[in-house]
């Protein structure tokens, strides 16, 4: 007996909390991946990252409506089209923002912070004018609903599993793109030594634009996945921006593994404490611990061993 619970009940609760932590982890990873590229690699503070994510979510919302209206036969697989659309929309908007704004500010990181905050405010108002202030949700196809019962008490929701699988695939994809592709090689070269990269014939401006766009595109996919487990409103992006930045900084900017590890730590800590204390206290404790650790170890959990 532990407290008021029997032993099996307690382990089941721990397992369920662990699973909900894993779902949170997936969302965190998806959001942080894009930011890890933009902030970790390019050093740009994109405060509008949450809004790019919400753009993806709204695209999914539009897609689900479109399919249920005009192509009900394909409704069960609309989500895959939605993800592509979400990626494309955020990718293009990201490129546009880079071209119009960010490229003038690479040497002034604090100013990118303010400028992208402006972008985020404008996007929020655009969403509010177009989609309304109320939160919207999507209808899930049948095969994503329901849950798998492992034991009498433990139930695993299918949409959570799907999001997790998706996260896994996208993480692999980002890893391959960064470390196994020509673009990834150019990007890492530009980050390490811009002048030299330019001298060997890499179009650094194009690489910058693609990198920023790709980071935003991944945020769009994150938003798309987000619709499966929660509803979307114009200001939903702002709620996550601080967590996401903390995850990237905590993991050690520039380290992909670090980002994933810190997303795992933070999400598991939060959902475990949530069971013992209230949700808000869980968040306060987790964030405080992260801030505390960052004060003691400002370089984050994982650092690249390169000379700057």
């Amino acid at each position: 007996m532990i407290g008021d619970y029997t032993y099996t009940e307690f382990t089941s609760i721990l397992a369920m909390q662990g699973f909900s932590g894993l779902t949170l982890f997936s969302v965190f990873v998806l959001m942080a991946l894009g930011l890890a590229i933009i902030f970790g690699q390019m050093g740009v503070i994109n405060m509008a990252h949450g809004e790019f994510m919400i753009l993806g979510a709204y695209m999914t919302y539009l897609c689900s409506h479109f399919f249920s209206e005009y192509l009900p036969s394909l409704f069960s697989i609309y989500f895959f089209f939605a993800m592509i659309l979400a990626f494309a929309a955020s990718f293009l908007l990201g490129m546009l923002v880079e071209w119009g704004l960010i490229r003038f500010l690479y040497r002034r990181p604090l100013d990118t912070l303010l400028a992208t905050w402006g972008v985020s405010l404008i996007l929020q108002q655009v969403y509010r004018s177009v989609f309304g202030a109320r939160e919207v949700g999507v209808t899930l196809p049948d095969w994503l609903m329901g849950s798998i019962a492992l034991t009498d008490i433990i139930e695993i929701p299918i949409n959570g599993l799907f999001v997790m699988g998706l996260t896994f695939l996208i993480t692999i994809g980002v890893y391959l793109a960064m470390f196994r592709s020509k673009w990834g090689k150019s990007m890492r070269a530009v980050v390490q030594n811009r002048t030299m990269a330019g001298a060997v014939g890499i179009n650094t401006k194009m690489v910058d634009r693609l990198t920023f766009g790709l980071g935003c595109g991944i945020a769009g996919i994150a938003g798309s996945a987000f619709t499966m487990i929660g509803s979307t409103g114009p200001t939903a992006g702002q709620l996550y921006i601080v967590d996401t930045f903390l995850i990237v900084v905590f993991g050690g900017a520039g380290s992909l593994i670090g980002t994933i590890a810190s997303a795992f730590t933070i999400s598991q800590a939060q959902s475990t404490i949530e069971f013992f204390l209230s949700g808000s206290m869980a968040k306060v404790l987790t964030l405080l611990t992260v801030v505390g650790i960052l004060m003691l170890r400002p370089q984050g959990l994982f650092t690249l061993k390169i000379r700057r």
Partner: protein
């Protein structure tokens, strides 16, 4: 040059006089009591903007958490006022008379121990400055001693602002939750909602602001001010010259926090409540825009910036609420891309030369070239 003149240059004395004249004479005569109270509220943000000019404009430390200190100062004042209005007689209908109403609603039966000292006005005045500065000191020592700055500092301060908001909202029984501490009535037995009190608070606010302005100028023209600029531009060189850079940064961050806290306390007095909506991420980053619009290098600009942006916010969000976010977003982009030195920069470039040329007509043969700005 005499020492008194040395503090401001001659032209700056004129600007100071103009500002003091506008705040202390023009506004009170032109506006009615309600509008004046509103301006007093805007001026409390000017304290924050002034702190940011020193900390961000001169020191290069962008803090996205000035709302923390504004809020803490405001909450300290609000706690005192709340305790004063929660006498056992006034709260006789509660199940536990003598404690603030929101505590009673949250089933608290006694006053938490850390509320007790706020029965004393002297302690409250002390705490308004001490609590925020202590927190600022802890944050800045931890960060600057490890040579963390720039973007990381901004993110960490932002995270702390977020944490504090969640904490205040979550601990409803101790802090009043999302509504904040409301229904404040008297200060030392004196009705703070009367017209008379509002006038007094407005002038107190102006006096404190002008005092802070002089203090800020003192910092700016001192050797320390020059070191700040040097640190902002080439931190390593200052360090190699034998200065402990971290201590200077800690000092300027704490000073900015103290200014914000005074602003917060004056805010509570003039508006009559304090809530977490003045603490979090969004208000904190808005405070940066007050400073940026005014001009991040101008202590006078900070005050005009806070007045301008807040006045625009009130008018726009009253009549065209959907336009306000666009305007605010555009403002953020514009101060970064188009006029990085804000209103003060525009004034210095376009209006000041005109004024000088206009004045020089009256003293032919004494045309002086405008001295290059100290920054």
């Amino acid at each position: 040059m005499s020492p008194a003149l040395f503090l401001f240059r001659k032209r700056e004395w004129i600007y100071f006089a103009i500002l003091a004249f506008i705040l202390a004479v023009v506004f009170p005569t032109v506006f009615d009591n309600f509008r004046l109270n509103l301006i007093g509220k805007y001026l409390t943000y000017a304290f924050v903007a002034l702190g940011l000019v020193l900390c961000w404009g001169y020191g290069g430390i962008l803090s996205l958490g000035q709302g923390i200190f504004f809020g803490l100062g405001g909450y300290c004042m609000a706690m005192f006022l709340k305790l004063e209005s929660s006498t056992p007689e006034a709260t006789a209908i509660q199940s536990t008379p003598g404690i603030p109403d929101f505590m009673d609603w949250n089933q608290l039966t006694s006053l938490p121990f850390w509320w007790e000292p706020f029965h004393s006005f002297t302690f409250t005045l002390f705490a308004i400055i001490a609590v925020p500065v202590a927190l600022a000191f802890i944050i800045s020592v931890a960060m600057f001693k490890r040579r963390v700055g720039g973007v990381y500092f901004a993110i960490i301060t932002q995270a702390i602002a977020a944490i504090l908001t969640i904490l205040i909202i979550g601990q409803q029984g101790y802090t009043g939750g999302v509504n904040g501490i409301t229904d404040l009535r008297t200060l030392l037995g004196w009705d703070i909602r009367s017209d008379n009190a509002r006038y007094v608070f407005y002038f107190t606010c102006v006096a404190l602001l002008l005092g802070s302005l002089i203090l800020a100028q003192l910092v700016r023209v001192s050797k320390f001010g020059r070191l700040l600029i040097a640190m902002r531009d080439k931190e390593d060189r200052v360090r190699f010259s034998g200065y402990d850079v971290a201590n200077f940064k800690i000092f300027i961050f704490c000073l900015a926090a103290a200014f914000s806290a005074i602003g917060g306390a004056m805010f509570t007095l003039q508006v009559g409540f304090m809530s977490p909506s003045f603490v979090g991420i969004v208000p904190s980053i808005e405070m940066v825009i007050f400073c940026a619009v005014g001009g991040r290098l101008s202590i006078f600009g900070a005050i005009y910036g806070a007045l301008l942006v807040n006045a625009a916010k009130s008018t726009l969000s009253e009549s065209f609420p959907e336009l306000w976010l666009f305007a605010m977003g555009g403002l953020f982009i514009a101060v970064v891309m188009v006029f990085p030195e804000g209103v003060a920069g525009l004034f210095r470039q376009h209006i000041e030369p005109l004024v000088i040329r206009g004045l020089s007509i009256f003293r032919i043969g004494k045309v002086r070239k405008p001295r290059p700005a100290a920054e």
